[in-house]
Structures are given as structure tokens and as C-alpha cells.
Amino acid sequence: MMLSRIADSLFWIGRYMERADNTARILDVNYHMLLEQPPDTYKLRWDPLIAVTGERARFYKTFEEASAQTAFDFLGFSEDNPNSIAQCIVQARENARTIRDRISRELWEDINSLYYKIIKLRENNEDLSRFCDAVKRGGHRFHGVCDATLARDEGWHFVESGCVLERAEMTARILDVHYHQLLEGPPVLNEARSHLWMAVLKSVAAYEFYKRENTMIEPTRVAQLLLLDARHPRSVRFNVGALQSSLHAISGSVPGTYANEAERLTGKMHEMLTYDSIDEIFAGGLHNYLTELQEMCRSIGDEITRAYLNYAVTA
């Protein structure tokens, strides 16, 4: 027996923690990549990062120019940006606090400690790199504590659903924005181009895995890994597969069938990612494909809400 409101909080703890983690990864990798780029590209390269998070309009209300400092302020701490890392952690903590009787004490204490750590890092004016590092470590610890202390009941599957849905969407977005940059940004040298793809791989911790199977950095191969590879835990396919398993575990429906719209869409998306080839995807336009994936993720989120978290009761 699980209250819808509790399931909702668990789902959003997963989403917010994952969002904080991904945002830190994007910030960190971009920062390191740009350290070695000529200064004029330097400026241009921060704008797409703001776009990844979908908060461009809000950003330019406060800041004139996207730079390492303003991007860090906005994506790291800003209270005006509901998706800043600090705000994500505040939200995750609020959700955890609301349902602290339903999660392990260790999980609550871990999220609560991360919250205090973030506040302290900000007070101490820590640099971007250290800050992002702390957030990423926090993310790893979160997964570890969940894994080691939560019962594998419906609640766990809601946390998991939130995490993997968020991660699938973020990976698609990261790819989309960097792809855009290469198409629409100023011309860059081949060398810089491969730097950029390397940065993408590093931001999702897939660089080493990629290098094991490829010697050259090629966009199609990078996209293939991040979208279609069933083995890497940050690929879209991997995460949609995990989402499918969790949704089935919650509803009790058997694989190959579906109990609600969320399951149907997830199943359909997983089929796409399983049987579409990377050549087909590029032929139809990578950007179109990524847009479709992101839209599907949003629809699945809405349908999970409609099926479990906030449904109408006829009195």
C-alpha cells in the first residue's frame, strides 16, 4: 500500500537528484574544455549550456552575457532558477523531509548532509570544479545509499523511475545542444571538434568506454553509444529499459503488455532505441530524433503522474 503523494515525492527525489548531478557534469566538463580554447570561442560556448537546461529566457533576465562565472552562478546556485543545482537539492531535501518516515534514516541523513554541504561550499566561495565534484560525489552517494538501504518495494521503483527518466532526457539534451553548437556555431577546427565530442563523452562518464572500442572520435559513433548502447548506464536506451522494468514492477503487468499509457509509451520508445540504426537516425536528422526522444520523456512523465500520482476521484 503506497499513498500517491508519497510515490510522487519519491519520484521527484529521484528526478531532482539526477538533475543536480547532470547539471554539475555539464558545467564541469564545459569549463575544463574551454580552458584550452581560444578566448573568442570561449564566450560563445557558454550560451548553449544555458539552453540545455531550458532556462535561457530566465538567464538573460538577470545576466547580460553567458560566461563561466555567470553560468556557474545561474546553474549552480541561483534561487531564481528552479533548476539550479542548489535548488534541485533543496527540492530533493524538501521531498525527503516530507516523507522521512518512509525512507531509510540513512538516506534522509545523506540528502540532509548534502544540503548543508552545498550551503557551506557557497559560503566559502569554492570554485566551480570543487563544487561540481562535491555534487557528483553526492549523486554517487545517493545512488549507493538507495541501493544499500531501500527495500525493493514500489517506493524504490518510483525513485528509480524518477532517476532513469531524468537521466534519459538529460543525455538526449546534452547530445542535442552540443550537436547544435557544431552545426550552428562558428566554424571550428577539426581538432576542436573532436575536443567537443570528447567533452560530451566525459560529461556522461562514457569516454573510457568509448575509447575501448573506438580509436577515432566520430560523431556517429558517439551518438550511437549515448543513444543506442544497451550496456552503458547513461545511454538513453539503457535508461528507458530500466524505466520499463520499474513500471512493470509497479503495475504488475507482464513484459510485452501494458497497464497504462506510461507503460505503452515507454515500451514504444524502447523498441525505437532497440531497432533504429544510427545511420537511419542521421539520415532523418539527429536533431529531429533527439527532439522526439525529449518529447517522449516529457509525455511519459505526464502519464506516470496521471496513472499513479495525481488521478481524479469521482465522489
Binding site: 503506497m2 503523494r5 510515490a7 518516515d101 476521484v313 465522489a315
Partner: protein, 500 residues
Amino acid sequence: MSSVAETVPTNQFPPDQLLFDGYDPGSFYDEMVAPNGEPRLFTAPMYNKLAAMPLEVFEERRKLADLSYLVQGITFTVYSDGRGTERLFPFDLVPRIIPRSEWDVIERGLAQRVTALNLYLRDIYGPQRILKDRIIPQHLVYSCKHFRREMVGLHVPRDIYVHVAGIDLVRDSRSGQYLVLEDNARSPSGISYVLENRLVMRRTFPRAFELCEVLPVDHYPAELVKILRSLSPRSGERPVIVLLTPGLYNSAYFEHCFLAQEMGIELVEGRDLVVVDDVVYMKTIHGLTRVDVIYRRVDDDFLDPLAFRAGSLVGVPGLMNAYRAGNIALANAVGTGVADDKAIYAYVPAFIRYYMGEDPILQNAETYLCSKPDQLSYVLEHLPELVVKAVGESGGYGMLMGPSSDKKTIEDFRQRLVADPRNYIAQPVIPLSRVPSYDPTTGTMSPRHVDLRPYCLYDGEKVTIVPGGLTRVALQKGSLVVNSSQGGGSKDTWVLRGDD
């Protein structure tokens, strides 16, 4: 934002200073130290342990204890600046110790009082014999802010109105006697601190517990859930019990979470519940589940926007209809505020005599009812020496401490009293007893005033009280106000297995 206690560099104090150096119990009753400066017989083992403890060791343990409250997020919310701020509830490591023979008297007195309060409520919402016999003026009862006309003639499960009561006691330094200062019969909070304080103390001074034979308190949630279970309107089924909370921003939210978890029941908000055909359900991921018993920590006013305050977002529309239909049990019952009104308080000793034919074991503090013209004029003449309280308030709000208030505040209260005398009572300032408490600015112990709130559970036949309760301490020097919203802290309360 909350913060851990300031780190105090212990080297600022004389190197061989001890915690009880220069301790003076003074002219008030000291719960730990006798007037001659020696520990009382039953406090000696703990006193000696503390007295011999190097300051660094004590400071170290104090920091660990504070940290454990912070990491666990045991905070309460204060609303002074319009938006709630999370604060740690300050905890003092020196326990308040009560010998067994003293506790036995308190326990019997409380059981008697809580039984009488229930008999009174059953009468007021039933035959109203006490009004016909003119033991208490009818207008006083009907004018209570928390009197609920809707409850008259309504049968409540097993005739229990007050399942949980928190009775505030103080020890008067002049007589050495415990007095009842007020009754809390709606939804008293604080029990989670009793249980957490004990947990922290056991971790901080494990050896002391071996030494002192302290009675346990951990069974409180089990005792409460046993009573809740017995209220279920559906026999034969395993009852579904929930704790209804106003939500995260309520100052006692931590306690609601804690109790729900300890009792193994669902913690719900109003929006989780829905009433269909006078039956209460909760919304789960797999549809609606029927609810039998609600331990509610939401005030009457906010319980059901259809029956009471319209527009309440924390309540459940239709809940009162389900209650009237007998499909749901509520603990505490609706309308118990007619028993803990501070003007009604003055009559509780009379209830005990009237309903039980017994003399009250615990006495009331001397009280002036401003609704009586002669008492009002006395109060108005003596405002600077009295404590004035609004009858329907709790938590230290709406209160005047005459001796420590400036002229303007006193005049302010004078006008309020004249305008609405029924709404106020007054009591002489009681010289509360004190317990040694750590003062981080001097690195030594100083006496601080305390009260005691035991938590009483009533199952329709007997009253169960976990030994001790919440000892609240006014950590400001000289202060007599112990409420957490007013800068008070708490202590662990030890009832000993014996008298030494």
C-alpha cells in the same frame, strides 16, 4: 537556517575548572542539589559523574549530541519573521531526575485528572448534569472558543474523548509541591523529544544508565497504537490507522513523521484523504483504500472545511459527516478544547470531586478568572506581579509576564482585559524549581527554571503514562518561560526504579 551550538574554545576557562565549581542552588528549589550544596541522595551518582568530568570531555559530548539532532533534522519551525525558520530545539545534557516515590504520586494525580476530564467531556456533550447541578456556570462552558455544538449528542467510540493529554506541571519552590499549570487536551506535542532525548542521552552517557536504573520510555508509540486500534468501527478487519498532519510547514512535523513511523501507520495530509458516501478513503497508487481511525494532529477548526472553517486546505471535506455516521474514529475527539480552556481549568478540581467523589491529588495553581468582576478588579490592580494568559491559546502565545514586562505592554494588556475579560485568566508568578544546566559562556553549571509535561494515554478504563515526560528548561538566566517558541530548551527526564 539552523546551526550547531557554537564551538567554545575550552582553553578560555581555568585549566582545572570543574563543571560544578561555584554552583549555588540559591533560594529556589533545586531538583539536583540540596540547599547545603551537596547532591540529593537519588541524584548523587549522576552528579558525581558530571562533577568529576573534565570540561573538554563534556564539551565533546555536547557537540556530538547537537550534531546528531542536526543531521537527523530534528528541528522545529518558528514563525517570527513571516516565513518559517528551522531551528534546533536546544537540548541540555543534565537530566532532571525524579525518585520513584515522588513519581508514584504524580502518576496517580495525573490518572485521576485525565479520567475526570473525560467524564466531564462525556457529560458536556451528553446529559450535561454538571450544568444542571450548577457546579460550573453554563455561560462559561458555552462561551469557550473550542466548544463544539456539533458534538452534542454524538456518540464517540468507547466514550473516549481525550486519548492523549499533556498535563503541564511545575514544582513550587515555596512548598516543594507539584502543581498543575495547564491541561492540554487537544493535540499536545513534544513526545518525540522525550523519546529522542532519551536516545541521545543513552548514547552520550551509557554508563550512567547502568548506574542509575532509569525507567524506560520507549513503549509510548506501542501503547498509543494499541488504543487507536481499539477504536476501529469495523470489527473483524485489520484496522487502517493514519496520522493526519497539517504538513511539512507545521512546527511539529518532525514529531508527526516520527510517531507515524514508530507506530507503523500511514502519515497523511488532508489531500491524501477523500470522503465518498460518508466513508473515508486514502488515495494510493493502486486506487482508494478505506481508513478506520485517524490520529489527527490538525486542530478542530481546520479538520473539515465543510463543517468548520471554510477554505481550510489541510482538512478533509466531509470528514465530520463520516464521523457522525460512525464510519471513522478520531483521536482526540472533536471538541476537547472545552476541557483545556484556561478558564475551565480552574474547575477541574471540582470535576474530580463531582464525578469521582475524590479529593484532587495534584493541586491547581492559584488562578483568577477575569470573567468574575471581583477577580478582574484584583487582577487589574496587581498586573505587574501576575502572569496573564489568554484562555484559548497555547505555546506561550498571548501571554503577559507581569514582573518582566515594561509599562507599555502592561497597559496594552490592561485594555485587552477590560475589553474581553472572559478571554483571560491570571496567576501569581510561581517560583519554579530549577535544575543545573550547562552555560557555555562560563563553562560551568548554572541553575535554570524547569517545568514538566508528562504524556497521558487513556483507553477508556485506565490511564497509562510513560515515566517522566518532557522537561522544558528556560535557558535564559532568570527566565521563567520554557516554551520552545520563546527560547526554551529541553532535558531528558529520568524516573528512577527506586528512591536512591
